[in-house]
C-alpha cells in the first residue's frame, strides 16, 4: 500500500508541473493589463507603472515569470498581490473559510444523496422514488447563481433565519445557508447515481446467489449490495470534491465569504499569474490527495483492486 501511495505521489509531480505551466500560460495569454485594471479609470504616471511592472516582473519573458512564481511557491515566499495584500496572510485567512464551507456542504450533500439514493434504489418506483426523481430533475436544472440569490433573499433577508453574508457569526452559523444550497443542488447528481447503482446491484447475480444461500436481508444489504453499489459513487465523490473549488468562486462572492474562491476570482480578474498558479497548485495537491484517498477506499471496499 505504501509503495502504491508513493508511486501515485511521484507520478503527480510531472503532471503538476504541466498543469501549472498550462495555467500560467493561459493567464499570461489573457488580454488586458493588470496594472491598468487595478488603477481603474485613472491614468497612472509612467514612473509608477514602471516601478510596479519591475516589482512584479511583468516585463520578463513568460518562462522567467513562471519560474519565479514556482520558486516563490516552493520556497514559501509568496510576496504580495498587485493590490498590496500579503499572500501568505491571505492564505492563512482564506483556507479555513473554504475548508469549512466545503466540509459542511459535503456533509449535506452526502447525507442527502446517500439516504435518498439508497432508499429510492431499494423502493424503486415507489412514491418517494418518483417524487425525488422529479425533484432532482428540477434541482439539476436550476442555475447556481439563481438559487444562491433566491435562497439568500428568502431565508436571510425575508425570514431572517440565517445571516445574509459574511463570517461574523462564526462556524457553523455563517456557513449554514450557502452550504445547504450547495448541498441541496449537489445532492441531485449523487442521489441519482447512488439510486441507479443500487438498482443495478440489487439485480446482479451475486446478490441472487447470496439470497439463494439463505443469507438474511440485512446481511445481503450491508455486506453484498452496499460495498459494490458504492464503488462508482466513491469515484464520483472524489471528482465532485475537486470541482468544489470552481463552484466556490460564485458561492463565496454571493455570501461574501473571504475564501479561496474569491481570492482566485480577484487574481484572475487582475491577471495575477503567480497567485492563480499558487491556488491551482493548492487545488491540484488536494485533488491528488482526495483521489489517493478514493483509491485507498476503493481497495477497502473491493479487495480485487488492491493489487492493481
Amino acid at each position: 500500500m505504501i509503495r502504491f501511495v508513493l508511486r501515485r505521489v511521484l507520478a503527480a509531480i510531472p503532471i503538476g508541473l504541466i498543469v501549472t505551466l498550462g495555467v500560467f500560460a493561459l493567464v499570461f495569454a489573457m488580454p488586458g493589463d493588470p496594472l491598468r485594471e487595478l488603477a481603474g479609470d485613472k491614468p497612472i504616471p509612467a514612473a509608477v507603472l514602471a516601478a510596479k511592472r519591475a516589482q512584479y516582473h511583468l516585463d520578463d519573458p513568460f518562462i522567467v515569470q513562471y519560474l519565479l512564481s514556482m520558486k516563490d511557491i516552493l520556497t514559501g515566499h509568496f510576496g504580495t498581490t498587485f493590490a498590496g495584500a500579503d499572500i501568505g496572510d491571505q492564505l492563512r485567512l482564506r483556507i479555513p473559510v473554504t475548508l469549512k464551507l466545503a466540509t459542511l456542504s459535503m456533509v449535506f450533500q452526502w447525507v442527502l444523496g446517500l439516504i435518498f439514493g439508497i432508499y429510492a434504489g431499494f423502493k424503486r418506483n415507489g412514491w418517494v422514488d418518483r417524487s425525488l426523481l422529479l425533484a432532482t430533475l428540477v434541482l439539476l436544472a436550476i442555475p447556481g447563481l439563481v438559487a444562491y440569490f433566491a435562497a439568500q433573499y428568502l431565508f436571510a433577508v425575508e425570514l431572517k433565519w440565517f445571516p445574509v453574508s459574511g463570517v461574523l457569526e462564526g462556524y457553523p452559523r455563517s456557513y449554514l445557508l450557502p452550504a445547504l444550497v450547495i448541498g441541496v443542488l449537489g445532492f441531485a447528481g449523487l442521489g441519482r447515481l447512488m439510486r441507479t447503482s443500487i438498482v443495478e446491484t440489487v439485480n446482479a447475480d451475486f446478490v441472487k446467489t447470496a439470497r439463494a444461500k439463505g443469507l438474511g436481508e440485512q446481511r445481503v444489504l450491508w455486506r453484498h449490495i452496499l460495498p459494490n453499489a458504492l464503488l462508482p459513487v466513491v469515484t464520483f465523490i472524489g471528482l465532485d470534491l475537486a470541482g468544489l473549488f470552481g463552484g466556490a468562486i460564485i458561492t463565496e462572492s454571493i455570501f461574501n465569504l473571504p475564501g479561496l474562491g474569491q481570492f482566485m476570482f480577484q487574481a484572475v480578474k487582475l491577471k495575477e499569474g503567480g497567485v492563480v498558479v499558487l491556488l491551482c497548485t493548492l487545488a491540484f495537491i488536494s485533488f491528488i490527495l482526495i483521489n489517493l484517498l478514493v483509491d485507498v477506499l476503493y481497495g477497502v471496499l473491493d479487495p480485487r483492486v488492491r493489487n492493481v
Binding site: A50, A54, Q55, G84, D89, Q152, S253
Partner: protein
C-alpha cells in the same frame, strides 16, 4: 468607462451612524462595495474605497462647501496665488495636530509630498505632482523592465517650506485652478513616524481628520473608526462611530441592507429599476456624477471629417438611450451639469434629428466599411448599451455595424497604441470641481484622459490662457471657448449624465449636496 475621483468619492465615500454604545453614541455601518483594503495611505491610493476612508481619517487643506459650492479652508488658513497663478503660498492654521499629538506643520506637507513625487517609491498619487517644478528630476525615464532607481535629488525644487506653518508651491506653468485641486485627499500629510516607515503603519494610519482607528485592524477585517476630538475643521460629522464593511458583491450588499444590517449602501446597477419599491422612502440620489461619452478614434482617417461626427451625434436618440441606462439625463455638453460654467445647450449637434444626420453624413462623403463598437465585457450592461447605440446608427444612417467585447484594460491599451478599431464608451468625473478638469484631461493634446487622441492647437492655446487667468469668471469664459472648439470638432460624442442612487436606514439622513454629491460620513442622525 473612466469615472474620476469625485464621482468615486461621491459614490463611496461617507457615512455616519447613530446607534451603538449604550450612552446614546451615534453609530452607523456603511457598505463598501469593494474588496477589503490592504492598507490606508491616501498618498498611495487613488481608488474610491481607499480615498473614501481617507476622507474620514484625514482632512484636506481646503474643501468645497456642500451648501454654496465655494471653496472653504480646512487645514489651510489661506491659499494665495501670485499674480500669474504660478506660485502658490499655503499658510496653515495654527494649533492643528495629528492623531498622535504631534503638531501639524508645513514640513509635514513638504516632506510627504516630496516622498510621493519620487517615482521610485511607486506611490499612486505621484502624477499629481507632475505640474510642480522639479518633478522631472525625481522621475527620470527608466528603461522598460528596470526598477526606477532612487534619485539623488529627493525634493521638488518647486516646493519650499517658508516657516513652521507656511510653504509655497511653484508650478511649471501658471495654473489658475490649482487652489481647487488642494481639496484632494491624496495630498494628505503623513506624520514623521509614518514617513520613516510607511509599511509599519499601513494598518494603523495616523491622520488629522475627524475620525481615528477604533482599534486593531487586521487583513480582511471591517474598518472601525471612532470620533477624534482633536479635529477642528468646519462641518463636524455627527457620527461617533463608523464601521466600513467590505462586501465586494453589490447585490449581496443590497441584500444586507434589506435585512437591516447596514445604514448606507450604493444601489447596484441591477437594482436601478426596483430600489424605490424595495426600500420605500429610504433612498437618495445624487444630482450628477460626471458625464458619459462615445469616443471617436481621432487616428482613424474614416472618422476625420467633423461633419461625420456631427451626423453620428444627431443620429442618437439620447432620451431613449438615457431611459435605457436608467437614472440618467441626455447630455447637452461636455462637462457635468453641476459645474460652475456649465451651459445648458452648449452642444449644437446633440439633438436627435435623423434627417439632418443623414444629410450631414452625405455631406461628409459617407462612411466606408463596417462600423465597430467596442464594449467592456466586465460590465453587465456593456453589450446592451453598445447594441442600442449601434441600432440607432444603423437605422438612422444606414451603417453596417458590428460589436466587439473586450476587457476594459485591453480597450485602453489598444487605444493608447492607436490600434483600437472603431468607437468605444467612456466617462469622466472631475477630481476637483472645475470645468477645467473636464477639458484639460480629455481634450488637451496628450491629456491624461484624452482617449480619442484628439489634438487641436487652438484649443490648447485657449486652455493655457484660462490656466493663466487669475480671475475665476474670466477663466470660465476662456474654458467655455475651449468647450466650444471641442464640441465643434467632436472627438467625443456626449451621451448622458447619470445619477447615483443610495439606500439609507431610517436612523440617518445622508447629506445630499448639489456640489459634492451624497455623503453618509456627514449624515444627519434622527
Amino acid at each position: 468607462m473612466a469615472l474620476g475621483l469625485a464621482l468615486v468619492l461621491a459614490s463611496c465615500g461617507d457615512g455616519k451612524s447613530s446607534s451603538g454604545g449604550g450612552s446614546g453614541a451615534k453609530s452607523e455601518t456603511i457598505a463598501m462595495v469593494a474588496d477589503p483594503l490592504e492598507y490606508i495611505n491616501p498618498l498611495n491610493d487613488n481608488g474610491s474605497p481607499g480615498i473614501g476612508i481617507a476622507m474620514a481619517i484625514f482632512a484636506p487643506l481646503v474643501q468645497t462647501d456642500p451648501e454654496t459650492g465655494k471653496l472653504q479652508n480646512v487645514m489651510a488658513d489661506s491659499v494665495t496665488p501670485d499674480k500669474t497663478s504660478q506660485t502658490w503660498t499655503i499658510k496653515l492654521k495654527a494649533g492643528n495636530t495629528f492623531q498622535n499629538g504631534q503638531p501639524l506643520t508645513a514640513k509635514d506637507y513638504v516632506d510627504s509630498w516630496n516622498m510621493t513625487a519620487e517615482g521610485s517609491n511607486g506611490w499612486k498619487n505621484n502624477g499629481f505632482f507632475s505640474k510642480v517644478e522639479g518633478y522631472d528630476a525625481l522621475n527620470p525615464p527608466a528603461p522598460a523592465g528596470a526598477t526606477p532607481k532612487p534619485t539623488a535629488v529627493k525634493t521638488l525644487s518647486g516646493l519650499k517650506q517658508i516657516d513652521d506653518l507656511t510653504f509655497s508651491v511653484k508650478l511649471k506653468v501658471p495654473f489658475s485652478q490649482f487652489g481647487l485641486t488642494l481639496q484632494y485627499l491624496g495630498l494628505a500629510p503623513l506624520p514623521e513616524e509614518v514617513r520613516k516607515n510607511p509599511d509599519a503603519y499601513k494598518r494603523k494610519p495616523i491622520g488629522n481628520g475627524p475620525f481615528k482607528m477604533a482599534g486593531a485592524w487586521n487583513a480582511g477585517d471591517d474598518i472601525k473608526l471612532t470620533k477624534w476630538d482633536g479635529y477642528k475643521g468646519p462641518q463636524l460629522p455627527q457620527a461617533d462611530n463608523i464601521t466600513y464593511k467590505f462586501i465586494p458583491n453589490g447585490d449581496t450588499a443590497y441584500n444586507e441592507f434589506l435585512a437591516g444590517n447596514l445604514d448606507f449602501v450604493d444601489v447596484p446597477p441591477t437594482k436601478v429599476k426596483s430600489f424605490k419599491t424595495d426600500a420605500p422612502d429610504q433612498s437618495v440620489t445624487s444630482i450628477s456624477s460626471g458625464a458619459n461619452y462615445l469616443v471617436i478614434p481621432a487616428w482613424d482617417p474614416r472618422f476625420k471629417n467633423p461633419k461625420l461626427r456631427h451626423a453620428f451625434s444627431e443620429a442618437i436618440d439620447r432620451k431613449a438611450f438615457a431611459d435605457l441606462v436608467g437614472l440618467s439625463e441626455p447630455a447637452k455638453g461636455l462637462v457635468a451639469p453641476d459645474m460652475a460654467g456649465y451651459r445648458d445647450n452648449a452642444c449644437k449637434y446633440c439633438d436627435f434629428d435623423a434627417s439632418k444626420a443623414k444629410a450631414d453624413l452625405a455631406a461628409a462623403g459617407g462612411f466606408s466599411g463596417v462600423l465597430n463598437i467596442n464594449y467592456n465585457t466586465s460590465s453587465a450592461t456593456g453589450q446592451i448599451f453598445a447594441e442600442a447605440i449601434g441600432n440607432m446608427l444603423r437605422q438612422n444612417l444606414g451603417l453596417q455595424v458590428k460589436y466587439t467585447g473586450k476587457q476594459s484594460s485591453e480597450i485602453g491599451a489598444l487605444a493608447d497604441s492607436r490600434k483600437l478599431d472603431g468607437l468605444r464608451f467612456s466617462g469622466w468625473g472631475h477630481d476637483y470641481p472645475s470645468i477645467e478638469d473636464y477639458l484639460t484631461p480629455m481634450f488637451k493634446s496628450n491629456g491624461d484622459a484624452n482617449f480619442a487622441h484628439y489634438s487641436n492647437p487652438a484649443l490648447d492655446a485657449v486652455l493655457a490662457k484660462g490656466d493663466a487667468q487669475p480671475d475665476p469668471e474670466q477663466a470660465i469664459k476662456l474654458y467655455q471657448q475651449a468647450e466650444d472648439i471641442a464640441l465643434e470638432d467632436m472627438p467625443l460624442i456626449p451621451l448622458y449624465t447619470k445619477s447615483n442612487a443610495y439606500l439609507h436606514s431610517a436612523k440617518i439622513q445622508p447629506r445630499v449636496s448639489k456640489y459634492v454629491g451624497v455623503s453618509a460620513l456627514w449624515a444627519t442622525f434622527k
